[in-house]
Symmetry: C2
Subunit: 199 residues, 2 copies
């Protein structure tokens, strides 16, 4: 035991994780969305993203079949829609229709992006890795679409205008949070400590 | 092209990503920390986390050698220390010492956790997957330590007390953000949409 610490056990805990919706067309051609908190960037050359999905999910078989998918980042104004897409199954429900979201066919892949969402990635399946309850899909990022109303003056995405959500597991259930204030710049906030190294 | 959208190209973009520090002992036994924004949960059975690291980094060889590592979540009050540990190399600098952080030897693995940080995972290497510039290490989570001053009344971790950072890539460089207000509960925020399915 460590003094002043509590062991929460062997669980899938990370604070926070991103919240994304994976877009696919299923075997009948219907666009579908799966809400995932288990996703992350995993490579820069090639640029690649990992998503982890249970074999039982409808999206799993769509990715295996099409070998293409999208990763769509909702804004906090789409909290209800994002949560809904993690509860309903695309086997029985047209989630785009129910959530009043607009599927746009990808420019680079055979998968739908969400028109209303601030940021979307088009991905081609590079690898499938078997882990356990969940498998990992690695997608090469072929394009990244940002809504023009979420751009900053320099022409790049503005995180606060995009207003993405993050997910945190808690004992009482998962909670979605906004992102708040900036607290530093990368390769800048640690400069004073770095100076002690270079002396 | 999509109307009202801009293609930012094929890049490693996700908004936001977590920010974690990977803890290892190197071959000389010195504790080390590598700051990573490319990490995520990837499985629940076994509970597992993925981290992506370039082969050139000192931490890469330590994980290959020890097959054990920790994932440590800094609080916003450690922004400078976290950023510093992404700039300096453990080959030439004792980062724990410079950043005035305290390494505690893991209870389950031969890797150090950061005493001052609100949340730490102890991980055993399950898989190494080759992707490209970065490889993916999959770690089975054996323990998760939360500081007692970051617990909520129900005995679980309180995300706002932990005050983790997130990372966002922008055109002008990476920015660290706090997490802000809660904007919904998982499996709750979408209930009204779910009710239309169950009619």
């Amino acid at each position: 035991m460590f003094k002043g610490k509590k062991n929460m056990g062997a669980g899938s805990f990370l604070y926070p994780t991103p919240l994304v919706l994976c877009g696919t067309y299923d075997s009948s051609g219907r666009p579908n969305l799966a809400t995932l908190a288990w996703a992350g960037i995993c490579c820069s050359e090639p640029p690649a993203v990992q998503i982890s999905i249970r074999k039982q999910r409808h999206t799993y078989s769509s990715i295996i079949e099409k070998k293409e998918f999208t990763v769509n980042i909702p804004s906090i104004k789409h909290t209800a829609e994002a949560d809904f897409c993690g509860m309903a199954s695309g086997r029985s429900v047209d989630k785009f229709d129910r959530a009043r979201l607009t599927p746009l066919h990808g420019q680079f892949v055979d998968a739908p992006i969400v028109d209303e969402f601030p940021f979307c990635l088009e991905c081609r399946l590079l690898h499938t890795f078997i882990i356990g309850s969940h498998d990992i899909f690695i997608g090469e990022i072929l394009a990244s679409w940002v809504r023009e109303d979420c751009l900053s003056d320099d022409g790049g995405p503005d995180p606060l205008k995009m207003a993405p959500m993050v997910y945190t597991p808690t004992k009482g259930g998962g909670i979605y949070y906004t992102i708040g204030d900036a607290c530093g710049k990368a390769f800048d906030a640690g400069k004073s400590l770095m100076e002690t190294v270079n002396l």
